[in-house]
């Protein structure tokens, strides 16, 4: 037994020695913000291509835009950023921006009208995922050079017809509106890609921060821009570490190794809610959970059945159990905090009422299939629906599949019912109105698979025209009222039941102040943060 004892003793001593020598850092430096987040969705940092949450978080802090949101006053809506002011032509089709003087890119190059025009032309011509945000104004690869023009220190954007100014400007606040440094980007062009490959992993902006490095699935490191036109940010370095597990994020927050934990699940939030020195912030985000009924189905297209289904959802039960702290009841297609959003939620679980409606419709022994993607919360919602539907005599068969399987069938209008999520693409009401309540051609040949109304074969019962009108309304308040009316009608007649809106809970060290993750309309802002 002697040899083994010697070996064991040696190893144990070795461990012990190394443990004692370990430096344990209990607090992050005062000028550094360390965040744990899931950043495995970043596939590119090019503002013309980036369309994921963690990518938008980087972009928002790196790139200035013509117009932008003030993180500390999101409710105010868009305001000047790299453009100091703007004017709209009489026909409402041309917006001319005057550039702010004296702003510089991180490279030291001045931010010119030419950079702004080129950035937007580039985004249209590259035709990446978010390009539709600009091309919906009639901009194409062919006409981009004429429709977007720089002249001296002004840049003008001309649309194919009259649109609400608020619509165009809201779109320019999204990631794709980021203004890149033309000289730097073109110096790194390869094979006529307008610098796309280089910009995927590098940045060339004028914002509060510049990129030090992005290590996929590991970290994103930003350093502050001392010449930022709003003043040098207090946090000189921001490190976002990829930490997949909620419980790991919690431990790191408790140990003081990070300042902010972005993906805490309800259990972990409850576990640290009362801890000393830790605070929890809740912000409403843009994502909605909804169910929809295929109008090709002979029974599901009956208005009585549609109404009955809206009374067969246990909204309160879900909100207060497995969705607690993560989702809040919301029954309208515009997320709270959007222009035109309303907070009326008239539906509650009412089995008797649903049964009566189904009886009126003459429905008995209905059996339908619901398609759900393989995500825990969605499957749980589907199971809750299965339970409440069965109480009214409807048999719900749950089909779980990958995005390709379920979305493929949904787009082909083959699912009886769909249970899923929808996130707005840009911070204007049109993003959701134009998909939930807009469907100009409901024929199979139209193939408008991008529209949710089309995927459910719903002709929108006249809402399409109202949505088109709202997009052109110049007056902001009148426009908001139009969306409120559209949503009231939508709640009554649409074969959609919007169920919940996402809440993001962020755990932070109590000394971190002014951190805003962006609400429903934008991404996180690091520059106002202090410790």
């Amino acid at each position: 037994m002697k040899p083994i004892r010697n070996i064991m003793a040696g190893v144990v001593m070795g461990f012990a020695a190394s443990m004692v020598a370990l430096p344990v850092m209990a607090e992050t430096p005062a000028n550094m913000l360390v965040i744990a987040n899931r950043i495995d969705d970043i596939t590119t940092l090019d503002p013309a291509e980036s369309f994921e949450f963690a990518g938008s978080d980087v972009s928002r802090n790196v790139y200035g835009k013509l117009v932008n949101f003030d993180p500390l006053d999101l409710a105010a809506g868009y305001g000047p950023d790299l453009a100091a002011s703007w004017t709209v032509s009489e026909d409402g089709k041309t917006i001319t921006f005057t550039m702010r003087d004296g702003v510089k890119f991180h490279s030291g190059n001045p931010v010119r009208a030419e950079d702004a025009a080129w950035s937007l032309q580039r985004a249209v011509m590259l035709n990446k995922t978010p390009s539709f945000i600009l091309t919906q104004f009639g901009l194409t690869a062919e006409n981009a050079m004429e429709m977007i023009k720089a002249d001296g220190n002004t840049v003008s954007i001309t649309t194919d017809k009259r649109y609400a100014t608020s619509f165009v400007l809201n779109c320019l606040t999204s990631t794709i509106g980021g203004i890149v440094d033309k000289e730097t980007v073109m110096a790194n062009e390869a094979d006529g890609d307008m610098g796309n490959v280089w910009l995927k992993t590098n940045t060339a902006g004028s914002g509060a921060y510049s990129l030090v490095g992005w290590k996929p699935n590991e970290s994103v490191t930003l350093k502050s821009n001392p010449d930022f036109y709003l003043g040098a940010p207090a946090m000189e370095r921001v490190v976002v570490r990829h930490v997949q597990e909620s419980s790991t994020q919690r431990l790191m927050l408790e140990r003081g190794d990070i300042d902010v934990a972005r993906n805490l699940n309800p259990d972990d939030v409850a576990g640290i809610a009362d801890a000393d020195g830790i605070a929890i912030d809740s912000e409403l985000r843009g994502r909605l959970m909804y169910i929809s009924l295929n109008q090709k189905h002979p029974v599901l297209s009956n208005p009585k059945v549609i109404e009955a289904v809206k009374y067969l959802v246990d909204y309160e039960g879900m909100q207060n159990s497995f969705l607690k702290g993560q989702y809040v009841i919301h029954q309208n297609f515009l997320p709270a905090t959007y222009l035109g959003a309303v907070d009326e939620n008239p539906f509650t679980l009412n089995i008797e009422k649903a049964k009566a409606l189904l009886a009126e419709a003459g429905v008995e022994g209905l059996e339908i299939e619901v398609g759900v993607r393989e995500a825990q919360e969605r499957i749980e919602i589907a199971q809750s629906l299965q339970n409440t539907f069965s109480q009214a005599g409807i048999k719900l068969n749950i089909t779980v599949g990958t995005a390709k399987q379920i979305l493929g069938r949904y787009r082909a209008r083959e699912l009886d019912m769909y249970m899923g999520a929808w996130g707005p693409d840009y911070p204007d009401p049109q993003t959701n109105a134009g998909t939930f309540a807009y469907n100009p051609d409901n024929s199979d040949e139209a193939g408008a698979t991008g529209l949710l109304a089309y995927r459910n074969a719903w002709d929108t019962g006249g809402l399409t025209a109202k949505v088109s009108a709202a997009v052109e309304e110049g007056d902001r308040d009148v426009r908001a009222k139009m969306y409120a009316d559209i949503q009231a009608e939508f709640r009554d007649i649409a074969p959609f039941a919007v169920l919940f809106q996402k809440i993001e809970q962020t755990g932070r060290n109590a000394n971190v102040a002014n951190l805003r993750v962006g609400g429903a309309i934008t991404a996180v802002s690091y520059w106002p943060v202090t410790k």
Partner: protein, 353 residues
């Protein structure tokens, strides 16, 4: 006769007929065929999986024209066999393609991630072997004793505890409560990117650079995941060692050796243990190879940027270049470890020469 003899000598001298060379060629040939087969099967499986690589690039909300552009850019409009031909042609030129998810060459990703796994797996295996082998030997020698019982329980726990749970509990106790070890990740952020990357293994790089602060910090981060992986392989290695030893100890030559009056230490280590080395090498090589594949759960819990989570994430998004690159590396590791253990056989077992 003279001619024949000359020929005979000539054959012996010809480099082509040298047994070592033939063996080398045979080995190389089998590596190439194995790798090609592996790549082809992975390739085909990747194409028939119900996951859409285009969707993972452009997202659900992309327009049709964006989708079509990306589809063509990936070459998915061509037949599988043509796609495979292009792929192999590029690989032979050292180009494994770009990863869709990380937007950079797969080779760069692998160079960054494999050393992280190698470092962790090597440390884990060293722990597993240095503790597991003696544990198994003594459990066999003192069969049925209290020591054997404890060794059995230790191994059983290692086998049956989910690594996920062990990892989380380890973090909670040693990092969260006691603060003895570093948290998730390879080093604290303050130590990141300080030492130049030579091998990609931070422990080695910091030794090369002579930066002991970084070394100890990296050690504090690797010690817990390595111990957990080490425990896992210890459980396997100690059980196998025990049963190999028991088999040898019941042989007649052991009885003979004892009757001859040889010291017990010589009987155990000089006779019995020497004879299980060949089997043991296979067991250790396999367990090492398993760890080198990357332990996905351990990597997730400890935010360890290794190859296991890389391949898994890539697979779930149908990032086929990354999956293929990763599979080829893991395949090579298996083949090389196999060859290595073959070579060790020759050292330990004179008959294999």
């Amino acid at each position: 006769m003279a001619i024949a003899q000359q020929n005979g000598q000539g054959r012996r001298r010809s480099p082509l007929s040298s047994p070592a060379l033939i063996l080398t060629f045979k080995t190389l040939g089998s590596i190439i065929i194995t790798m090609l087969g592996l790549a082809f099967i992975t390739f085909v499986i990747g194409r028939v999986m119900p996951i859409d690589p285009v969707l993972s690039i452009v997202g659900e909300q992309a327009s049709k024209s964006t989708y079509d552009d990306a589809y063509a850019a990936l070459g998915l409009d061509k037949p599988i066999i043509v796609q495979f031909y292009y792929y192999i042609r590029d690989v032979l030129h050292g180009d494994f393609g770009d990863s869709l998810l990380t937007a950079r060459p797969v080779v760069d990703d692998l160079i960054r991630r494999f050393p992280a796994t190698l470092e962790l797996a090597t440390l884990g295996t060293i722990m597993g072997v240095t503790l597991g082998v003696p544990l198994g030997v003594f459990a066999a020698v003192y069969k049925g004793s209290w020591f054997d019982q404890i060794a059995r329980v230790v191994a059983l726990v290692g086998y049956s505890m989910p690594i996920f749970w062990l990892g989380l509990m380890g973090l909670l106790v040693f990092y969260g409560i006691l603060g003895w070890v570093g948290g998730p990740g390879r080093v604290d952020i303050f130590y990141a990117d300080i030492v130049p990357s030579v091998t990609g293994m931070i422990l080695l790089d910091s030794i090369i650079d002579g930066n002991w602060d970084v070394f100890w910090n990296a050690m504090s981060h690797i010690i817990l995941p390595a111990t957990i992986l080490g425990y896992y392989s210890l459980a396997y290695i100690s059980r196998m060692t025990r049963s190999f030893m028991l088999e040898q100890l019941s042989e007649e030559y052991i009885t003979t050796a004892r009757v001859k009056g040889l010291p017990e230490r010589t009987v155990i280590w000089g006779h019995a243990f020497k004879n299980i080395l060949v089997q043991l090498v296979t067991v250790i090589a396999l367990s090492y190879a398993n760890l080198l594949e990357g332990s996905v759960l351990t990597e997730i819990i400890f935010s360890w940027p290794g190859i296991g989570s890389y391949i898994t994430t890539a697979l779930l998004s149908a990032d086929m270049n990354a999956v293929l690159g990763g599979t080829i590396v893991v395949g090579l590791v298996f083949v090389l470890l196999n060859i290595f253990s073959d070579l060790l056989y020759r050292v330990f077992d004179p008959r294999a020469k």
